[in-house]
């Protein structure tokens, strides 16, 4: 008898559960739980530091990742030089004060650990690529040649390395040049044309802020004044994402941009003081940070890079240094 009652109850429960399934499914679809729907959780870890504590890099510090070793490179034009941190966020090396390296604007690292500096002469009118060993000692200077006539003003501010190709990005003039390891230009992009700028849109203030390259050679950039981020394929096809506003997923002042190995795209927002995450379909997923002085909060986040181990590095203003977050999938 007792067994029968239990069986009836169990049957009743099964029926109710079965009946509730569509409703549950509907509820999950409408109100997704954060971790389940997003598939990505980001948590604050620490700030880049040396033995004396966090290092207060300036708001303009540029970040680069050594994908093979997981080290992060910080180029801070206000403080000068390049500082290297290991995977635990501790400073391990610094270089860049040598006169032969010129004024280092940015760096990129290849799989072997060689370092490419984007350097300028002392008038900062002429640039060259410095090929350095892992100690930051200049091995050779690579002079870029073969740039087309439309690149007479070309003054790159970012350098990236991907599969034997060096990417030089002039964020102000919206130009990108790809050069081989001998410095010969092999392809160029005029981003204004690719993004179909109308004459009215070609203005000084409609220039790129953040720039990134993924392993497939796709280019990512932000244009703060248009409240947009873009993905451009190697064959020059552009997709755009993001919109202006104050709510989640909206851009206040879109700044740095990065992409990780899973295709997640990270866009820092200087005004909203957070980092927005989009998936590879360019849909908004989540965001983290927010204005404040506590751990994990951000003040004017600028550059952002994604490490191979799920770490996300964010430079910021207010002497807050570079904050490190961990992304769990």
């Amino acid at each position: 008898m007792e067994d029968g009652k239990v069986g009836e109850k169990a049957e009743y429960g099964r029926k109710r559960f079965t009946a509730a399934l569509p409703v549950l499914f509907l509820l999950l679809a409408v109100f997704p739980g954060p971790s389940r729907a997003y598939g990505l959780r980001v948590s604050y870890q620490y700030n880049l530091a040396d033995s004396t504590g966090d290092i207060p890099f300036s708001y303009g510090a540029k970040l680069a990742i050594d994908k093979s070793r997981g080290e992060v490179y910080v180029t801070d034009s206000m403080q000068g030089g390049v500082t290297i941190f290991n995977t635990t966020g501790m400073r391990v090396y610094r270089f860049g004060d040598q006169a032969d390296l010129g004024f280092i604007e940015d760096v990129a690292i290849d799989r072997k650990g060689d370092i490419f500096t984007l350097s300028y002469n002392d008038t900062r009118q002429l640039f060259f690529i410095g090929l350095c060993n892992y100690r930051g000692e200049l091995q050779s200077k690579i002079t870029v040649s073969g740039l087309p006539s439309g690149f007479s003003h070309f003054k790159p501010g970012r350098i990236f390395y991907n599969k034997g190709i060096i990417y030089l990005a002039d964020d102000e003039d919206m130009l990108v040049a790809l050069v081989n390891l001998q410095g010969k230009c092999i392809r160029t992009y005029q981003l204004n044309k690719i993004l179909k700028f109308t004459p009215k849109m070609i203005r000084d203030d409609n220039s790129a802020f953040g720039f990134a390259i993924d392993d497939d050679g796709n280019m990512y950039l932000t244009i703060p004044t248009l409240f947009r981020a873009y993905r451009i394929t190697p064959d020059g096809k552009a997709e755009t994402f993001g919109r202006g506003g104050s709510g989640p997923g909206r851009f206040g002042v879109a700044a740095g941009i990065a992409v990780d190995g899973n295709g997640y795209i990270y866009v820092s927002d200087r005004l909203r003081c957070c980092v927005l995450v989009f998936n590879k379909d360019l849909n908004f997923v989540t965001e983290f940070g927010y204005r404040g002085f506590g751990p994990g909060s951000l003040i004017v986040p600028s550059d952002v890079v994604a490490g191979p181990d799920g770490r996300i590095y964010v430079s910021q203003a207010g002497n807050r240094g570079v904050s490190v977050f961990s992304a769990a999938y």
Binding site: S58, Y59, G60, A61, D76, S77, M78, G80, A99, F103, N121, D122, T123, R124, Q125, S152, H153, K155, G157, E172, K200, M201, R203, D204, D205, N206, S207, F209, P224, T225, L226, F227, G245, S246, G247, P248, R250, G252, V253, R270, L271, R272, C273, C274, E287, Y290, R291, G292, F293, G294, P295, S297, I299, V300, A317, G318, N319
Partner: protein
């Protein structure tokens, strides 16, 4: 009738799509931008309180203007701090060659060895207007705690100095529409002809008569121990007249696209006198007993000084002509009503051209003491303190906006006062 309706609908749609889309191309467009760009209505962004771990923390004050940045300047610098010129005025390396100068220099203290052989120091906060921007670690000037030379104007304290001390972030002209002005239709910085039914904004959104930095109803309380602190500082002079190039290249005046500079009309010194009224001297003859260098609309150069300016090319070279005499490092006012052009190479005339504050100073900051355009502490300006400072070798020619002084003017170029006075 139906066709007319369809056409009207299409026209309305086109107006919405193309007419309003222009707003997306520039944030200010000469006037007030959209409110949400700078303000948060409920002290939150993205559903997260701005006070969490931040403004509500001990020692951290709340933003009383509902701004998204910690303070007014921090809000402005969210967009205006980056490398290069264009619309950036605070770089990390002195590369923002905008006419006002680069606030980078108010972060830079450097030591150097002058001709005396001793070590000298050029203090960061002596390099310009020390705006307060907490998010960017820009703090109050501790040397000059108030605007010097206020004269008959109320004292303006350094602790309140911010972008909105000089620029009206809402872009109102002469009191705005509430004061009977027509709506602002476009920027007033580039010499555009006003659109019918509208007026242009002020040059660089500069404040003018009636402007009170900050809302006087919530004006900052008096710092403790300071008597007579003004409760409402009001502008008494209108914004000046000037024309800027729509495109700034890396070297002012020597851009690859040709000469490119701000061309000044009139009203600069009078406008600076909103805070520094005691420094305004319109008497070019210097007979008023103020013993200050003339500056102002009526401080005309006259034929002699204008002639010097036009002759002077560099130390030892006085073969210049009036048609090509303009030197961006020593600009002047062409006078009220003069035709202004950011590509003009012409020197001053002997009738209307006048000396102004910006003839010698940068409005924001420069590499040199007192925010001057050239190093007033060096006999030969190629040996300027900022150029020879060993602590920051990478600044190179940034103090002179990328000008290679030696290449363009020689190793023995002396002070640029000589552009008008030829004493070298």
């Amino acid at each position: 009738m139906k066709a007319v309706k369809v056409a009207l609908i299409l026209m309305a749609a086109a107006l919405v799509v193309f007419g309003l889309s222009g707003a997306a191309f520039a944030f200010h467009d000469g006037g007030v931008a959209y409110c949400e760009g700078c303000h948060t209505m409920h002290n939150s962004m993205g559903g997260v309180s701005n006070s969490v771990g931040g403004w509500g923390s001990p020692g951290v004050t709340h933003n009383q203007y509902l701004l998204k940045g910690t303070d007014p300047s921090s809000t402005c610098l969210n967009c205006h701090s980056h490398k290069g010129a264009k619309y950036n005025i605070f770089s990390t390396d002195g590369s923002s060659y905008t006419p006002g100068g680069d606030f980078y220099w108010i972060t830079q203290t450097y030591t150097y060895s002058p001709w005396t052989g001793n070590t000298a120091t050029s203090q960061a906060q002596n390099h310009g207007h020390d705006i307060v921007a907490a998010d960017f670690s820009l703090s109050t000037d501790t040397i000059l705690t108030a605007a010097p030379g206020n004269g008959t104007q109320p004292v303006y304290y350094a602790s309140n100095l911010a972008c909105n001390s000089c620029h009206n972030p809402h872009g109102r002209v002469n009191g705005g529409t509430r004061n009977g002005q027509k709506p602002v239709g476009q920027s007033g910085s580039y010499g555009y002809t006003p659109v019918t039914g509208t007026i242009n904004g002020n040059y660089r959104l500069l404040a003018d008569t009636y402007y009170q930095p900050g809302d006087p109803s919530v004006y900052d309380p008096a710092p403790s121990g300071v008597a007579g602190y003004p409760q409402a500082f009001t502008y008494i002079a209108n914004a000046p007249v000037a024309v800027a190039p729509a495109t700034f290249r890396e070297v002012e005046g020597l851009g690859t696209a040709g000469i490119s500079h701000t061309d000044y009309g009139n009203g600069i010194a009078e406008w600076c006198a909103n805070c520094h009224q005691g420094f305004l001297n319109n008497d070019a003859t210097g007979t008023t007993g103020t013993h200050r260098h003339p500056a102002g609309d009526s401080a005309t150069l006259g034929p002699t000084i204008a002639g010097f300016y036009n002759e002077y090319v560099s130390t030892g070279n006085i073969t210049g002509t009036s048609a090509n005499a303009f030197l961006p490092l020593v600009p002047f006012e062409r006078g009220a009503g003069a035709t202004l052009s950011s590509t003009s190479t012409a020197g001053p005339d002997g009738t209307n051209a006048a000396v102004m504050c910006l003839t010698c100073h940068r409005a924001h900051a420069s590499a040199f003491d007192e925010g001057t355009r050239w190093d007033t502490q060096a006999e030969f300006i190629s040996a300027s303190s900022a150029l020879i400072a060993t602590a920051k070798p990478w600044v190179a020619n940034a103090p002179y906006y990328g000008w290679d002084i030696v290449a363009n003017m020689g190793s023995y170029q002396r002070q640029l006062c000589n552009k008008c006075h030829i004493q070298d």
